[in-house]
């Protein structure tokens, strides 16, 4: 319990920039990245993410997660149409995706 609390504090510090995230790396353009398998200094963030309270789901345990109906938007056409309808009939501006433009409907 105490460790969980400490980890939460460390996570908050890391995210807020109060502690350095030494190991953050931008995604590598070269394949495969072997640095993942070597020892190197680890940040609070990394140590916390490795802690037990975050249950890891292994690649071979993801049959259910890869179901079509587990996608955030299982039907792209329907998602585009409904978000366009709500955008044109409600005051809220749409958020959450990068594509698409305005229309004379609003």
């Amino acid at each position: 319990m105490k460790r969980r609390l400490l980890c939460s504090v460390a996570l908050a510090l890391s995210l807020s920039g109060c502690a350095t995230i030494e190991s953050f790396e931008w995604p590598s353009f070269s394949s495969p990245d072997l640095s993942e398998y070597t020892e190197r200094p680890r940040s609070y963030l990394e140590i916390c993410l490795e802690h037990d309270f975050l249950l890891r789901v292994k690649p071979w345990e993801r049959a259910v997660l890869s179901r079509e109906d587990m996608a955030w938007e299982p039907d792209p056409l329907e998602a585009a149409r409904t978000s366009h309808t709500y955008f044109s009939k409600e005051a809220s501006m749409p958020g959450g995706s990068a594509g698409g433009g305005g229309c004379g409907c609003n």
Binding site: P27, S28, F29, S31, P32, D33, E36, Y37, E39, L49, E50, D52, L54, L55, R56, V57, K58, P59, W60, E61, R62, A63, V64, L65, S66, R67, D69, M70, W72, P74, D75, P76, L77, E78, A80, R81, T82, T85, Y86, K89, E90, A91, S92, M93, P94, G95, G96, S97, A98, G99, G100, G101, G102, C103, G104, N106
Partner: protein, 409 residues
């Protein structure tokens, strides 16, 4: 499965299992960072129709029937190389009917809706192209689109991307979008309140974090910011001032909007169903804030049939400059609008969708899906979290009926 402390042993194990998975082809299921495997095509036809304005809310001599939109959508998505795929979305819409114009007060001072004549006839064509590039542990996408109506043009661009960490249990995603729009209202020469030519730009930014909770559930939370700049008013709406004076719709030239969306998905193996829940809080500098709650239940019946009922609740409070109509003394502010969409109201939506999946292995192995869906939407002042003192008379109720077919090769 609990992780043992030592990192070297588990790293070796991980490397071994990764290569074993790659050999068996199972890695596809695990790794999202590969282009789509198949060619996917889909088509959908839908009709959107608004209920007539009730007699009590509209001026007796004015039009009571409202808007109708027939939409056709087509989509093609396919892999190009081992690292790149693309999707193309084409939309054609045919709009017709009447829409709310301005409000006048009745004898008791309550606002009554005046509609435009049933004169609106327009078409919208929209094309959206997206291409994604996949890296070892990330995806990057570029988006470009163009939309055209008689009186409106929009050119838009976007970039989005995502990367994973924590053994691909956590996904960080982000995106930005730009839209450059031009408005050329029809009948600007005969309607003095309409501008001839205007422009507006919208810039948006979002960042999200998704986490796998266990083998059956996921959660995602994202923050979005959008900035609208330029002509943000509606050229086809007017504001009535007592004494028969008509003003154009006047909204601020800028709008900053923030939203926070959290979604949760869980599959329930015992009943062969997946539940989706989402909540969005929205706030902008026009004084509008809103809450949206959505729930959907994807119920499978064997491998071929899925029935999905869904429900949505939306509530918003009015923009600072919303007025039913202006008093005899005239406006007290530079900005005013009688657009019902900027008033305080709440809305309930109900949907039901059926999807039938089958294969035709005797032709080529194509997976087909047939879809039919119905949605009902009702809105009212009383449905708002905080009911307004005066309800906007133009609030809309509509239904959407849609049919679709898709094929995966």
């Amino acid at each position: 499965m609990r992780r043992q402390g030592g990192s070297k042993d588990s790293a070796t194990l991980r490397a071994l299992t990764t290569s074993a998975l790659a050999l068996s082809g199972l890695a596809r299921v695990a790794a999202a960072d590969t282009p789509i495997d198949d060619i996917q095509t889909s088509y959908s036809y839908s009709t959107y129709s608004e209920d007539d304005l009730p007699n009590s809310k509209g001026l007796p001599i004015s039009e009571h029937s409202r808007y109708e939109v027939k939409t056709q959508q087509a989509r093609l998505a396919a892999p190009i190389t081992d690292h790149i795929d693309f999707s193309l979305d084409v939309t054609h819409e045919k709009m017709s009917g009447a829409s709310p114009w301005y409000n006048v007060p009745d004898a008791a001072g309550a606002p009554i809706q005046v509609m435009s004549g049933p004169t609106i006839e327009d078409e919208r064509n929209d094309i959206l192209l997206k291409s994604s590039y996949y890296l070892e542990n990330a995806r990057m996408g570029l988006i470009g689109g163009y939309s055209k109506e008689n009186d409106y043009k929009s050119m838009n661009f976007g970039w989005d991307g995502e990367t994973h960490f924590n053994e691909k249990n956590t996904t960080l995603s982000g995106g930005l979008g730009l839209s450059f729009d031009e408005i050329d209202p029809t009948d600007a020469d005969t309607e003095p309140t309409r501008p001839v030519h205007e422009t507006k730009q919208t810039y948006s930014l979002n960042v999200g974090l998704a986490q796998i909770l266990n083998r059956r559930s996921l959660v995602q939370s994202s923050l979005s910011y959008a900035f609208g700049n330029g002509y943000l008013s509606d050229p086809y709406k007017e504001v009535y001032q007592k004494g028969a004076i008509y003003h154009p719709d006047e909204r601020p030239d800028t709008r900053h909007a923030f939203s926070w969306l959290t979604r949760y998905a869980r599959h329930i193996e015992e009943v062969e169903a997946t539940v989706h829940l989402s909540y969005q809080y929205y706030w902008d500098t026009w004084g509008v804030s809103s809450h949206t709650i959505e729930a959907a239940w994807y119920q499978s019946f064997g491998d071929s049939l899925q029935i999905t009922p869904s429900i949505r609740y939306y509530t918003q409070n009015e923009a600072d400059f919303y007025v039913s109509y202006l008093p005899l003394s005239g406006p007290t502010d530079d900005h005013f609008s009688s657009d019902y969409r900027l008033s305080t109201y709440g809305a309930l939506g109900f949907g039901i969708k059926a999807e039938y999946t089958f294969r035709t292995p005797w032709v080529t192995d194509i997976q087909w899906k047939l879809k039919a869906a119905y949605e009902r939407y009702i809105s009212a002042g009383d449905l708002a979290w905080d009911s307004p003192a005066v309800e906007a008379p133009g609030l809309v109720d509509f239904k959407v009926l849609s049919f679709g077919i898709s094929a995966v090769f």
